[in-house]
């Protein structure tokens, strides 16, 4: 099954050792996305990078501060629901937002409300 529609994509950048309530921030954000039934979320670990504060983030033997990027895709309304949560948990980081066109393929048809 194939559907095409307009949507919004967020990319959130921060470091792997950033935490929220004791657990890794990326896991917390992903869990929130799942709660909100966000359509697609994926966490990437970068090899090296820098961001807020111009501190180079790199994974070393004893420190795990690789750069993390989360890509999140859903409709404008769904993304809007997530923003207040991000405001409260991301202390140091960057959120990039862009309008995108998407095509979704699925093996079974999913009613729009169950997304």
């Amino acid at each position: 099954m194939k559907e095409a529609f307009s949507a919004r994509m967020l990319r959130i950048h921060f470091g792997e050792d950033d935490r929220w309530q004791g657990k890794p921030l990326h896991e917390a954000i992903l869990a929130k996305c799942k709660d909100l039934n966000i359509a697609e979320a994926i966490v990437f670990r970068g090899i090296e990078g820098y961001g807020a504060g111009s501190r180079i983030r790199r994974s070393r033997l004893f420190s795990k501060d690789a750069p993390i990027q989360i890509s999140i895709i859903d409709t404008e309304e769904q993304i809007a629901k997530l923003i207040p949560f991000l405001d409260s948990v991301v202390e140091e980081g960057l959120v990039a937002s862009s309008a995108v066109e998407i095509i979704r393929y699925s093996r079974v048809s999913i009613p729009p409300t169950a997304r």
């Binding site: 194939k2 949507a7 994509m9 990319r11 950048h13 990326h26 896991e27 992903l30 996305c33 799942k34 359509a39 697609e40 979320a41 994926i42 966490v43 990437f44 670990r45 890509s71 895709i73 990039a96 862009s98 309008a99 995108v100 066109e101 998407i102 095509i103 979704r104 393929y105 699925s106 093996r107 999913i110």
Partner: protein, 249 residues
């Protein structure tokens, strides 16, 4: 698709060890022919031979055994072959290409004829599109990982550049949480392919994505290409480097 009657047979002679952008030439050519919808192709390995350099290569000389001769043969209609020759010449490098008239007495049976993909021109401008494809790492297409098949298909269709990213955590259409477990040899993660080219080229490629991706998400966004090292096919270069880092999407 072959029909009985006049056709053209192409034979390419090359060395087994020859490489093109890091991949062996014969597999690059075979991928190219496959994804361009050629009716069929066969690679034959020689046991001894010599070429333009007049060095005798045989399987008994262990140290140069990766220079053994290879022969790739395929048969297709004249127009089809003409449309492929330019790219083939580039891929073949120092090898030899022979084209001869032939007659097809009986074409091979095709169970499900594939659509042929027209060759496209390479032209890049400041504005471009980024296509991201989100699939699962365990998705397969024709017995190979889907993301690998997609990269091969894009390469064969001259998409300027594509990178596959493996996610460390994620979920998608099937609502199943993917987590990368470093100690397990088989990964069951989410992967993202990020390809950049003109909107037209990506749209032209989409029918193939439709065929290959059963479950997944394709995201299109407008991007401005700021730095783009790109050489045309005529200069003997094929792959362009997509912008790295954070795009302006």
């Amino acid at each position: 698709m072959l029909y009985p009657g006049k056709a053209v047979k192409v034979t390419i002679y090359l060395s087994e060890g020859a490489t093109h952008h890091g991949a062996s030439v014969y597999s690059s050519i075979l991928d190219f022919l496959f994804y361009r919808g050629v009716a069929g192709a066969t690679v034959t390995k020689g046991i001894a031979g010599f070429g333009a350099d007049h060095h005798m290569h045989s399987s008994s000389t262990v140290d140069i055994s990766d220079h053994l001769p290879l022969k790739i043969e395929f048969i297709d209609a004249r127009e089809k072959v003409d449309s492929l020759l330019g790219k083939l010449e580039e891929l073949t490098g120092s090898g030899l290409i022979e084209v001869q008239e032939t007659t097809v007495a009986k074409p091979a049976q095709v169970s499900n004829p594939k659509k042929t993909i027209p060759p496209s021109h390479l032209k890049m401008e400041g504005k471009a599109q980024m296509m991201r494809i989100f699939v699962s790492e365990e998705d397969r297409w024709k017995n190979k990982p889907l993301h690998e098949a997609l990269v091969e298909a894009m390469r064969a269709n001259d998409i300027a550049g594509v990178t596959v990213y493996r996610g460390i955590l994620g979920y998608g259409a099937h609502r199943r949480l993917h987590k990368d477990k470093p100690l397990l040899s088989t990964h069951h993660g989410s992967v993202m392919l990020s390809a950049v080219d003109t909107a037209q080229k990506l749209r032209d490629f989409l029918p193939l994505v439709d065929q290959m991706v059963e479950e997944g998400l394709v995201v299109f966004s407008e991007v401005d290409i700021i730095k783009y090292a790109y050489k045309s096919l005529d200069d003997g270069e094929q792959m362009a480097t997509p912008p790295t880092g954070n795009s302006t999407a």
